[in-house]
Subunit: 362 residues, 2 copies
């Protein structure tokens, strides 16, 4: 602090500090930025398929700045009438199943058909690791360079609900920007598969063939959610095992009652690396969309998903308001102790806590 | 009304109306009743295994009268230190599987071992039909007469949560009254199995053997909840099919990952009618209790169940306060319409509704 004259800021003799940081140029840059965040203009650019505008709008959706969020809401509202027109596909599978390679091959196949493809992700761990499943875009080299593809890593957030909301809003923006297919990937940590399932039309589970006993260790409820199971890496020496796995998965799917969609979930083989079986998966999805459009299940599902998200958001907020109140936090811990010591029941404790809260808000 | 002298009340000439209905005797009866509802005395009678006192306390738990409920809470609190000592068993199965006969035979077997057995029920339909699974006690002739058995039909209520609370509180009372085994039966309407599962130590699914394909049509998640599956009516011509069904159920159970309890669910055959295989089911339950007591899972499970009920009760109340507000009801319908017409998102609608509510409560 005392060595004023030896400040490292003085090292570069050619350019004076004032030249770089003079206030008027800073202000000019800031003004330019301010002007650019015009929700109506940004929305119009999105409708004109301007990817830079789309990215900026998504950044605003993901912002923590209340003003940005307000602007984001305006943009989303403007995009809504132009949304809802894509096929939304959820993809999950354990690490190592080849999700990135699959999305690379599948996405490239779709753009080769003239489709525009957006790839999003829900990764509840991204807020902790600061990484994200799609962060390493180098794993999707071709798709990243494809001008008809748009790849966006998972939003980060403190709660899965928060991440989910941002992703749902991003879907609307992407659809308004004219993307025909939205792929939402998840690694399947915690409840993330259920979250993805509740925002897509079609849910695809990627699996590997192992040494028999395929179903052991599969997370509860996942098979039930799947509209199709694709056994990846079904190539070379692996092909025989993959075929056996197909039989076993078909039997497992058979255990569940018929779905309201009247869709019987399919099991299929593919090799994303060798680009085999990828077209068949797309055909399955198209068949699903055709059936569920005809019997009106697709629209019904989307309406129910919307209602679910509305109620879910309200419930989460009500709970978070309640349980995050410092007063309740303290008393809750106390009541839990009393319950454990058989001094009160869960119901008497609940009544007590609700009474505290309502007295406080009076 | 005009025929005063021909009133049917005058038919019995031997006794005058005034004698029966004189006010002082009415008051004496009422006073007596009032005196009898002394929570401390009632609790003491319960601890002394007085079944009449137990029944009265349960009636108070089930009452809609706030004063009775307050007294009920005092009784429950007094019973709590003497509760938690029974084995709580949930039993479910579709109508026709022979639940009543099973409980009759199983309960009678337990009392023959010197156990005291309470049989409760959770029947979410009982509030509508005014009937109840256990209402027809004639189906459990022997158990009804057994002095070591106590049978109580399902509480009625507007919500499953309400019925569940009353049943949970009744369990405490029964345990304080010295019952060693509490059986909770459900027909499995709606979420009632999950509700029962969340208040018992051991969950038994009763099944019938059919013509193969046993797993078709089983409600989602039920098999996952079962600690044991008993294939009932495994007698006579049915025995062969029952054995086949056992193989299939074993395979289905095998599909799920190992449980935290370290308990591998069992499949077993029985014939409640012929009193066959009933002792084996009790042995399975005892083995489960032994394993989960040793590895401390049982206590952990009960603690988690308590916490679940505490949080559940609070959440239900928060939601019901919110969604039953007339203002919110009206605006919610409006917002749902806007969502369906792509004029707002579920999230913007939720924000709007939450804002209305918080502004109103200020």
């Amino acid at each position: 602090m005392a060595k004023k004259n030896k400040s490292s800021l003085k090292e570069k003799k050619g350019v004076s500090i004032s030249e770089i940081t003079n206030l008027s140029s800073i202000k000019a840059i800031q003004d330019k930025r301010k002007v650019e965040i015009d929700p109506v203009a940004l929305r119009n650019s999105i409708l004109n398929k301007d990817i830079t505008a789309l990215s900026r709008a998504i950044t605003m959706v993901e912002s923590k700045n209340p003003k940005h969020l307000e602007q984001a809401n305006t943009i989303i509202k403007g995009c809504l009438p132009h949304a809802n027109k894509s096929i939304r596909i959820g993809i999950t599978g354990v690490p190592g199943v080849g999700k990135s390679t699959f999305i690379e091959t599948f996405g490239t196949y779709l753009t080769s058909l003239g489709k525009r493809v957006a790839v999003l992700a829900i990764d509840p761990t991204s807020s902790i690791t600061k990484g994200s499943i799609l962060g390493d875009k180098t794993r999707m080299e071709a798709l990243v360079k494809d001008e008809n593809a748009f790849i966006r890593p998972s939003a980060s957030g403190d709660t899965l609900g928060g991440v989910a909301r941002k992703t749902r809003e991003t879907i609307i923006l992407c659809e308004a920007a004219g993307f025909d297919v939205i792929i939402i990937e998840t690694v399947g940590v915690g409840q993330s598969e259920t979250t993805v399932h509740s925002m897509v039309d079609f849910f695809l589970l990627l699996k590997l063939a192992g040494a028999g006993d395929e179903l052991q260790g599969i997370k509860r409820g996942i098979i039930e959610m799947a509209d199709a199971i694709a056994i990846n890496k079904a190539d070379g020496d692996n092909l025989k095992n993959a075929k056996l796995a197909k039989v076993e998965f078909n039997r497992a799917l058979h255990l569940y009652p018929e779905k309201e969609s009247q869709w019987a979930p399919k099991v299929t083989l593919c090799s994303a690396l060798n680009n085999e079986g990828i077209d068949a998966i797309w055909d399955i999805i198209l068949e699903y969309i055709e059936i569920t459009t005809k019997n009106n299940f697709l629209q019904k599902k989307r309406n129910e998903q919307n209602k679910f998200w509305l109620l879910q958001t309200i419930e989460n907020q009500l709970k978070s308001d309640f349980f995050n109140s410092p007063n309740i936090k303290k008393e809750l811990a106390e009541q839990l102790k009393l319950i454990e010591n058989n001094q009160t029941t869960p119901f008497a404790a609940a009544d007590f806590l609700l009474k505290i809260k309502s007295e406080k808000s009076l």
